[in-house]
């Protein structure tokens, strides 16, 4: 305590202001990086198969054959979820909707993974 007290006495009003400003900046940055942009594509990956990428801007029920049977993936207006799965625990369905870049749901028993990707991230240029 003895050592800390003179130290605190050297703190000036400007220092306090700067501390608060920095705290505000940190909160702002954290807030911003958590609000990752909403994705445009759904990537569906099956074991040992190249991924399938489909648009999120549609209403669609996608049926994917997995290890145990067919899983259904619902796509509605920019978000996606598992709506039917042959696994016993149904964890994948309980995960609910995903719509942000890099959000992922893995259905381990049926070996299907769905994740959201940003269109611009999937390629840099188009060959035509």
């Amino acid at each position: 305590m003895k050592k800390v007290l003179p130290f605190i006495k050297t703190v000036k009003l400007g220092d306090v202001l700067i501390i608060f400003m920095l705290m505000g900046l940190i909160i702002f940055i954290i807030n911003k990086s958590w609000n990752t942009p909403i994705g445009q594509y759904l990537k569906i990956e099956k074991n040992n198969e190249p991924p399938k990428i489909i648009s999120l801007n549609q209403i669609k029920e996608e049926e994917i054959a997995g290890l145990l049977g067919d899983s259904n993936i619902s796509i509605v207006d920019g978000k996606a979820r598992f709506s039917k799965a042959p696994c016993t625990k149904k964890y994948c369905i309980h995960q609910g909707w995903i719509n942000k870049v890099n959000q992922t749901i893995v259905c381990l028993p049926n070996q299907i993974t769905i994740s959201i990707t940003d269109g611009s991230e999937s390629y840099d240029s188009v060959n035509y």
Binding site: Y123, S125, Y128
Partner: protein, 346 residues
């Protein structure tokens, strides 16, 4: 003091973010097509300055090579059509002519830049395509005396042709040549990471930071990509397709990719995509070598790929079946395959 040091540290730390990691992108419209240049890891000033050098060089090429607007080549074509010889006082253009002769012969003339007149007959020598089919007798007549690159005689800087129908059209070569030019300009100016797209033909220089440049391949019948590919440093990709310059008549598609044997647009494929490994003229090869693979009859396509040593190719046939080489199949990532009728791997 501790706080001040801390603030200093934070400011320096925060300044480190951003800037260099950015990709600067520039577009221009030359050769009747869109040019898209991306540069990674350079300052905005330098990126812009070097991109302008490239655009200026492309404008120079345009003024040299354009097949129907006023250019050096169209002047040459005019001289040849009147039976005169023509002097080209430019070592670069002489080299270009010689390379075209060489490539045309290598592809058994399936790549035939000497038949500009036939392309014009089909109405593809206009910015707005004419949409008419020439009479079959006219085509037959033309094909019976098909002008070839070997009809062009080059002695020092004088060119002439015994075939007056000879008209050079470098439409299947110029974009690839421009890619190789862009590569040289980027390298001379010490730019290590860039992606250059000229009307769909792409060359990768270096990488995008810690990953490769990724390129989508256009689906020939949908407004989206059918697949994507990691374009490794120095590699080029080229596609010939019937969906960029074409017209429809009586529900039949007529594209600008004309078979020199029949004189009619080739209709056995929708698109052919090839990957060319790093080499001095990989841009040219990615542009030129996709043509014979598109135009040749289906039965001999694989043979042609072998002969030209094209290891990475994908052919989307008119029946929507896909022929793909084993090497290409290993590096491609499918994006949208549900409507395709099947893939055969060679």
């Amino acid at each position: 003091m501790i706080f001040r040091n801390l603030i200093f540290f934070l400011i320096i730390f925060l300044c480190g973010c951003g800037q260099k990691d950015r990709v600067y992108q520039y577009k221009d419209y030359i050769f009747g097509t869109i040019i898209d240049i991306k540069i990674y890891g350079e300052t905005e000033n330098k990126s812009k300055q070097i991109t302008n050098l490239i655009f200026d060089d492309f404008q120079r090429l345009h003024n040299y090579l354009h097949p129907w607007e006023k250019s050096l080549i169209s002047d040459m074509n005019h001289a040849i059509s009147t039976g005169k010889s023509f002097i080209i006082d430019d070592a670069e253009i002489i080299r270009v002519l010689k390379e075209n002769t060489e490539l045309s012969q290598k592809t058994d003339n399936f790549f035939n830049p000497a038949m500009g007149k036939l392309i014009a007959l089909w109405g593809f020598h206009e910015d707005n395509i004419k949409q008419s089919i020439p009479s079959s007798s006219v085509i037959k007549d033309f094909v019976s005396n098909m002008p070839l690159m070997e009809d062009l005689t080059i002695t020092n800087n004088t060119v002439s042709s015994k075939n007056k129908k000879f008209q050079l059209d470098l439409g299947g070569y110029a974009k690839g040549y421009a890619l190789d030019r862009a590569k040289i300009i980027l390298q001379n100016n010490n730019i290590k990471n860039a992606l250059v797209n000229i009307g769909g033909n792409i060359i990768a220089i270096g990488m995008r930071g810690d990953r490769n440049w990724i390129v989508g391949i256009q689906h020939p019948r949908k407004p989206s990509a059918i697949a994507s590919i990691n374009l490794l440093p120095g590699w080029s990709i080229g596609t010939s397709g019937d969906y960029q310059r074409y017209f429809m008549m009586n529900e039949k598609r007529y594209s600008h990719l004309i078979n020199p044997i029949s004189g009619f647009p080739s209709a056995n494929s929708q698109s052919t995509t090839i990957l060319i490994p790093p080499s001095k003229n990989s841009g040219v090869l990615s542009d030129v070598y996709s043509k014979p693979l598109f135009i040749a009859p289906t039965e001999i396509k694989i043979e042609i790929a072998k002969k030209l040593n094209i290891k990475y190719f994908m052919i989307i046939q008119n029946d929507e079946k896909i022929l793909i080489s084993n090497e290409m199949n290993k590096v491609i990532t499918w994006i949208d395959l549900k409507d395709e009728k099947g893939i055969t791997v060679y």
